[in-house]
């Protein structure tokens, strides 16, 4: 049988501690209640896969930075290399030649062909047989007029010199090409490594920012717990710091609170105290963070999102364990912190009952010290009068002492 109790239906509308703003006949009328219930059910049924994927990818990119493939990094490096090898300063044809030389293997220099060979008989050579015959026939006659041997020797030596020079030139070209290719390769790899390193550095800096945000949150959590402890502990008479009245006066004993609070003081003092505390803590906040506590350069709420639990719409993740180990406080701690007095006061009735008893123990040990306070100007402020001495708190309103009998 279906549960038709409107109260049950209304309870289902609570979401993360917030009530829907329904009032008057809306609460009483079953029609709107049912339709709203149906709407909520439909809302729960509705899942947007694309939205979930966007969230997942956003979380991954926040955690790991932007991932680039090797090819993308190479393309990025190639663009940087283009910028370095500016065509205005480097001859384009030379650049192209170097590129080609890197892409094609450098061939071993071919032995340059001899430009010519010169032997003793070279000057008499001809392809015509008859002419060759006459030259040989008349050769003694020619040698009668001059000696052709020095000419042959000189030309022969010159041919050998030419060949050696060509070899040297080819070898030099080969070495130069190798050096060029090597230099270009080194340059290319350097630029690639620089591109890769800069991307890594970017990712690491993002990671550092995310981690510092986490550290910051952890510190604030510790401070807020410390603050709760201090506020729960009744102020010694010699201390002048303002104490939020909500902490000192549990709500279940409002009569005694009214009786012990001086008129006019409670309105101004706590707010002043809250302002002071906010100023002081903001002063302690390290540089590089926004007033909301998010690190500079990181989207506000990015780190907050990680601290949320499953109700916040994000899946609990293995990496988020350190965030969730802090306790049941899954809300936005930054907001809770900045709203200092009231948020602490809301939390106080839950925590202070346990903590206060421990504080009582400590205070009783420290009692001799506080029994004779040194009066100061600050002690005369009205703030101290808003807090009743521990002895004045009725026995019934005291929290049970977990350590006592």
């Amino acid at each position: 049988m279906a549960d038709q109790n409107p109260q049950h239906g209304r309870r289902q509308h609570f979401h993360r501690g917030r009530r829907p703003d329904r009032r008057g006949d809306q609460r009483r009328g079953p029609g709107p209640a049912q339709s709203q219930e149906q709407a909520v059910r439909e809302h729960r049924e509705h899942v947007d896969v694309e939205q979930i994927m966007r969230e997942i990818r956003s979380r991954i990119s926040q955690r790991h930075g932007i991932e680039l493939t090797t090819q993308q990094i190479q393309e990025l490096a190639a663009r940087r290399l283009e910028a370095i090898l500016d065509p205005r300063t480097v001859k384009p044809s030379l650049l192209e030649q170097i590129r080609r030389s890197t892409s094609t293997p450098v061939d071993a220099p071919a032995t340059p062909e001899a430009t010519y060979t010169f032997e003793d008989t070279t000057i008499y050579e001809t392809h015509r047989g008859a002419l060759r015959f006459f030259r040989r026939l008349l050769n003694p006659l020619l040698k009668l007029f001059f000696n052709p041997n020095p000419i042959s020797s000189a030309l022969s030596a010159q041919a050998k010199l030419n060949q050696a020079a060509a070899l040297r030139e080819a070898e030099r070209d080969r070495r130069q090409a190798e050096w060029n290719a090597l230099h270009y390769e080194i340059l290319q790899r350097l630029v690639l490594e620089i591109a890769r390193t800069s991307i890594d550095a970017q990712q690491l800096s993002m990671r550092v920012e995310a981690l510092s945000a986490k550290v910051e949150f952890a510190e604030r959590r510790a401070r807020s717990i410390e603050g709760t402890l201090q506020q729960v502990r009744p102020a010694p008479r010699h201390e002048s710091g303002p104490q939020p009245p909500q902490i000192q006066q549990p709500p279940r004993d409002s009569a005694s609170a009214e009786a012990t609070t001086s008129p006019g003081a409670p309105e101004s003092a706590p707010s002043e105290g809250g302002r002071r505390r906010r100023r002081r803590r903001r002063g302690r906040r390290p540089q590089g963070f926004t007033p909301e506590g998010a690190p500079m350069g990181v989207a506000p709420g990015a780190a907050v999102t990680e601290a949320r639990g499953p109700e916040g719409g994000d899946a609990p993740d293995v990496d988020d364990v350190d965030d969730e180990d802090g306790g049941p406080d899954n809300g936005d701690e930054t907001d809770a912190f900045d709203a200092a007095p009231s948020a602490d006061a809301e939390a106080a009735p839950v925590q202070s009952e346990v903590v206060a008893s421990a504080v009582e123990e400590i205070r009783s040990e420290e009692a001799p010290v506080h029994s004779e306070p040194v009066p100061s100007a600050a002690d005369t402020s009205a703030d101290t009068q808003t807090e009743p001495p521990a002895a004045e708190v009725p026995e019934s309103s005291r929290p049970p002492d977990p350590f006592g009998d």
Binding site: E45, V49, M53, E67, A315, V318
Partner: protein
């Protein structure tokens, strides 16, 4: 109404996507029409060896005519021709030769089809990349209803396919992505078409405990069903899963159902069940946390539909537009591109049972809305009625002449496919389904 189905293979034990699709549709439409199937004698899609005797047969009550395949596939020749037409500019004649090399080639089947086409109302042809559907569509164009089962692969870029897409009477698409791809490829807006897909034979009841007992599935598990092949993305799946389990604290197994082509890594959390009966398969899917579908090439993925029909979410590869589109349209699955997204999406579903349940419910509703048999049968019958009422105002373009066929003017098929628009088609289905 008389219908002739043409498909490259047909048999009760054949589980290939297009063939199973054809059998399911034929068996369902047999309740509304006189259905006859023309197919080959081949059983193996790699060799196309003639394993069934040619002649009349009957499969689950459907009359089947089998025709011999002219030749088996020569793998070396096929690979060389594929390399040529996928990567290089080529001629139309080379594409015809590639089609012949791929197989199955059965001239007797086409001759028979040309005869029976006059006697039937419509010819329903499955899988355009194979000879029977391609030549069948050309020989019986005026009655051809094509079920392309086309994937985003290079063979779709063959120039000889485009006139077929423009010349058949109607096209029954599997998904909106397939429709968008074929329309962009061939500009066939004038051809009547509808996105149909195919249903499955989902049992009325499943017994998860029986599957757990039978296969010893003690831990929570995710499941993959299909051929265990690197072409199906299984290598990536193994890598992603082992990375995930190395860093995760929750016990989670990967259960594999299907024939292994790829060596399965020896890992304590990977369990291979082999080829199992349909009943066991459905039981195992129903007991899984989700079905994982890593394949980058899918024209529909019947397994994903089966998982949705059983109320299980799907985790699909984002490299497959069809799967992404199906996940988005159904709101019943997540998708991943790499190991990190795999882990994050898996965590998201496993850590949030409410989300998993909602995805499963959405999947069940999606299946019922679009892939239940009454819906599919109605779409086929409506299309036949529409085609009966309106005569074809266009015909099949003729094959180019002798010289034109031999001129190297056709761009590489892979280049053609790569130029097609990518991404899931989302808005169309949402607007149509609402």
């Amino acid at each position: 109404m008389k219908l002739v189905f043409v498909v490259q293979r047909y048999g009760a034990e054949i589980n290939g996507g297009g063939e199973l699709h054809a059998r399911y549709v034929a068996e369902r439409l047999a309740a509304h029409a006189d259905v006859r199937v023309l197919t080959t004698c081949a059983r193996d899609y790699v060799t196309w060896r003639n394993e069934w005797p040619p002649g009349e047969d009957r499969v689950n009550g459907i009359p089947v005519e089998r025709f011999a395949v002219a030749h088996e596939r020569n793998l070396i020749d096929f690979r060389e021709r594929s390399d040529r037409i996928f990567r290089d500019p080529h001629s139309v004649q080379e594409e015809f030769r590639w089609l012949d090399s791929q197989g199955p080639t059965s001239p007797t089947l086409i001759k028979r089809l040309a005869r029976v086409a006059d006697e039937c109302d419509f010819v329903v042809l499955f899988s355009i990349r194979y000879g029977p559907a391609f030549y069948g569509a050309r020989f019986a164009a005026s009655k051809a209803v094509l079920v392309p089962t086309a994937e985003r692969e290079a063979s779709l870029g063959l120039s000889i396919l485009q006139p077929v897409f423009r010349g058949v009477r109607a096209i029954m698409y599997n998904t909106f992505e397939e429709r968008a791809m074929i329309t962009a490829l061939s500009s066939n807006e004038h051809v009547p078409g509808v996105v149909v897909g195919v249903g499955s034979q989902i049992p009325d009841t499943v017994d998860v405990e029986r599957a757990r007992r039978t296969f010893g599935l003690d831990n929570p598990y995710i499941i993959y069903v299909g051929r265990i092949d690197s072409n199906k993305g299984c290598a990536d799946l193994f890598r992603h899963f082992t990375e995930y389990t190395d860093g995760a604290s929750r016990p989670l197994d990967l259960v594999l159902i299907g024939t292994p082509v790829l060596p399965i890594p020896s890992h304590p959390r990977i369990k291979h069940l082999g080829f199992v009966a349909d009943r066991d398969k459905f039981d195992a899917i129903a007991g899984a946390e989700l079905l994982v579908m890593p394949s980058p090439y899918e024209s529909l993925s019947m397994v994903a539909l089966e998982a949705w029909a059983l109320g299980r979410p799907v985790l699909a590869s984002a490299r497959c537009d069809v799967l992404v589109g199906q996940c988005v349209r159904s709101n019943a699955g997540l998708y991943y591109e790499d190991a990190r997204e795999f882990a994050a999406a898996l965590d998201r579903i496993l850590a949030d049972p409410a989300l998993a349940a909602t995805l499963g419910r959405n999947g069940r509703a999606f299946y019922a809305r679009h892939y239940s048999w009454p819906v599919i049968e109605r779409k086929y019958l409506d299309m036949f009625e529409q085609l009966r009422g309106e005569p074809a105002e266009y015909g099949m373009e003729p094959i180019p002449g002798w010289l034109a066929r031999r001129t190297t003017t056709v761009p590489p098929a892979a280049v053609v496919v790569n130029a097609l628009p990518t991404g899931p088609v989302v808005g169309t289905e949402r607007s149509e389904s609402r």
